[in-house]
């Protein structure tokens, strides 16, 4: 030690170091390639293999796609036009476009109705997805389910109006009594809604559907990608609140509620969705009063919702468990009651943590809506497998049709995933 310290260690800086430009770093494409593609010999080999794979895929797919035929009326015609050359027969998409989107039974002069409902969907979900938008827009979101129902199914306008009136009655009752007692407000609200529905139902005459302004379309006439979208949107928006309720119930300190939630979640998660769908199509009718014709669409919605709610509940439970105990104590120590603490402190944070998991379930749910094709509902996949591929004109155009289905689902799922990433960034306040 001592011989290295020949000069004094004392040091005093006499002037401050001025700020300087950061050093010039070499840039340019060559440098970038060396850093990112060929940093080591192994990386170089990986790069070359990857480039070769991409080349193989594109060199076989591109000619097929670019050479595609869009205007013939059958596969045989496509083959004649192509005359042995490689090329896709996209004509099936143009010729069966409406069937792919709306199914084969929805009256073609009414296509504007689901189309309009689809457009309005964007207006309705915008304020939910982007909460910087004015909160007033949420009024439309609240009305949207009834508007969309009326547009898609048509029939007597009394049905959506009574449904709306029931919901409003329930909400008003809940609002005015919840301050006094949560249970009173909640149960009272539910009862008020049912009473309104019952009384309102008496005012809708039998056969009102036949004289309605908007022609009634029965559920079994729905089909195509429209059916997937309807199932997807309905089930996602129903299963999220149900999943939250189940997750909170599972954490509840009331043993009965806890047991019910645990059994429900574990049971539903242990059963394949396809089984639930079969139950919906053949057996669920036994659970409803014999003469009530509970719609197949509704039964399927219940099953898919219940199924994904169980998964969402588990995802959210993970989020709840990840919250430090201090957050609960902080909320408690300020005098917030259970409902306030849950709504203002616990859920916002738990849901934020759960976003990736919830999106995972939502994307899975949306794709699982194609499973309804096995219980003979003609969704997009059902249309392709059934009426279209079975027709003599288009028997054998697998790649084009299934590729189209894949693209449609991909676009929606990619959209969901992009949104969730934006949301996570938007909500990031921890500044780690």
């Amino acid at each position: 030690m001592s011989d290295t310290q020949q000069h004094s260690v004392a040091f005093v800086r006499t002037e401050a170091i001025p700020e300087r430009e950061p050093p010039y770093t070499a840039s340019g494409p060559l440098k970038w390639m060396k850093d990112n593609l060929f940093a080591t010999p192994f990386n170089g080999i990986l790069t070359i293999v990857a480039v070769y794979l991409i080349y193989m895929i594109l060199s076989s797919a591109l000619p097929w796609m670019l050479n595609g035929i869009w205007t013939t009326s059958s596969l045989a015609e496509c083959r004649t036009v192509l005359d042995g050359a490689v090329g896709a027969c996209f004509s099936v998409l143009t010729e069966r476009w409406n069937q792919l989107l709306f199914g084969f039974k929805y009256p073609s002069e009414l296509y504007w109705r689901p189309g309009l409902a689809f457009m309005l969907l964007f207006v309705a979900i915008a304020p939910v997805l982007f909460f910087d938008l004015p909160r007033k827009l949420l009024i439309f979101t609240g009305l949207y389910p009834f508007i969309a129902y009326y547009l898609v199914w048509g029939g007597a306008i009394g049905v959506p109006l009574v449904a709306l009136a029931g919901c409003v009655a329930g909400a008003v009752f809940y609002q005015s009594f919840v301050a006094r007692n949560f249970a009173l407000g909640f149960l009272g609200g539910v009862i008020a809604a049912f009473v309104t529905w019952y009384i309102g139902g008496l005012f809708i005459p039998d056969g009102a559907n036949n004289t309605a302004w908007m022609r009634a379309v029965p559920s079994r006439d729905l089909g195509g990608f429209m059916l997937n979208m309807m199932l997807g949107v309905t089930c996602v928006s129903l299963s999220l609140p149900l999943g939250i309720a189940l997750a909170l119930g599972r954490q509840s300190s009331m043993p009965l509620i806890k047991v019910i939630c645990v059994v429900f979640i574990e049971f539903i998660r242990g059963v394949p969705l396809i089984t639930l769908l079969f139950v919906a199509s053949v057996m669920l009718a036994y659970f409803f009063p014999p003469d009530s014709t509970v719609d197949l669409f509704l039964r399927v919605v219940i099953m898919i919702t219940v199924f994904s709610a169980a998964y969402i509940a588990e995802v959210i439970r993970g989020g709840l468990a990840a919250l430090p105990k201090g957050q609960y104590e902080g909320a408690d120590s300020l005098g917030l009651d259970y409902a306030q603490a849950t709504r203002l402190i616990i859920l916002p944070q738990a849901l934020k943590i759960s976003i990736p998991g919830i999106v995972n379930v939502a994307v899975g749910l949306f794709k699982d809506t194609t499973l309804v094709s096995v219980i003979s509902m003609f969704d997009l996949v059902g249309m392709i497998r059934g009426p279209i591929l079975a027709s003599t004109a288009w028997n054998g155009v697998y790649w084009e049709l299934l590729g189209f289905a894949a693209v449609l689902f991909f676009v929606v799922c990619y959209g969901i995933s992009q949104y969730s990433q934006w949301l996570e960034r938007r909500l990031a306040t921890d500044h780690r």
Partner: protein, 262 residues
């Protein structure tokens, strides 16, 4: 600790009334079969500033957490501001909104801004109009000397600033009593001083305070009673001068020699 040891200049003026703020009688608590708090009797008068100290695991946190029902006691009674603490949720919420609490780890809500942290409880529990709640919040944020951080998130603040926000957040509920559970023990020495200064200012205004801390300088300057706990019991309590200069029990002497010895 040594840093704040000699910062006390003159003890804060005592403004103790003879009105009872907290009355604990024969309180016992068990965690399972483990007897954490044993026969606690404690009366806190309005305006009193009490410092609770004792070795780790002696039940200090448990005691003050029982006062606002973050922990449940199994025997005896706790009365806060005339309200008996029972399992009735209405009473518990009432007491909690009268009693402010500061935690070792601040427990700010990371998804809300500083201002929202401070206005949340007044708006939802006290039903104060938003505008008024924000004015109150700014008033207390100014008092703890961080009004300019109001629109930041807790994650963007230093530890000392966060703890001062936590104090301001409690004050926004206009509590009659403040509980502190080692508010400075997660902080660097420099930040300890800013938090203690805030607490001293609070004490000078006559706030009733119960404070678990090992900041003996703070105790000397501010407290009008120091309570020493060990193994779940109150072993000794006295005025700070007497307590520090002339501890009666062996256990207290040992503790003080350890904590002040270096």
């Amino acid at each position: 600790m040594a840093m704040t040891e000699n910062m006390g200049t003159s003890p804060v003026e005592m403004k103790v009334s003879d009105e009872v703020a907290i009355s604990i009688q024969g309180m016992n608590k068990w965690y399972g079969t483990f007897h954490v708090l044993r026969d606690i009797d404690l009366t806190v008068y309005e305006g009193e500033r009490i410092v609770i100290c004792g070795p780790s695991g002696s039940g200090k946190s448990t005691l003050i957490r029982c006062i606002n029902a973050l922990e449940e006691h199994q025997a005896g009674s706790i009365t806060v501001d005339g309200t008996l603490l029972s399992s009735d949720l209405k009473n518990i919420d009432k007491i909690r909104s009268e009693v402010g609490m500061c935690f070792q780890h601040f427990n700010l809500f990371p998804h809300l801004t500083i201002l929202e942290n401070c206005t949340l409880a007044p708006i939802w529990v006290r039903k104060t109009p938003k505008k008024e709640a924000e004015e109150t919040a700014m008033h207390f944020l100014t008092k703890v000397k961080i009004p300019d951080q109001a629109n930041k998130y807790p994650g963007q603040l230093s530890g000392g600033q966060q703890q001062r926000v936590a104090i301001a957040r409690s004050l926004c509920m206009k509590p009659r009593i403040m509980l502190f559970d080692e508010p400075t023990s997660a902080l660097d020495p420099e930040m300890i001083k800013e938090v203690l200064d805030t607490m001293i200012a609070l004490a000078e205004e006559g706030m009733t305070m119960l404070c678990v801390t090992h900041e003996m300088g703070f105790a000397r300057q501010v407290a009008n009673r120091v309570i020493f706990m060990d193994a779940g019991q109150i072993v000794e309590q006295n005025e700070p001068e007497e307590f520090f200069n002339n501890p009666k029990s062996d256990r207290t002497q040992l503790f003080l020699s350890q904590i002040l010895g270096h």
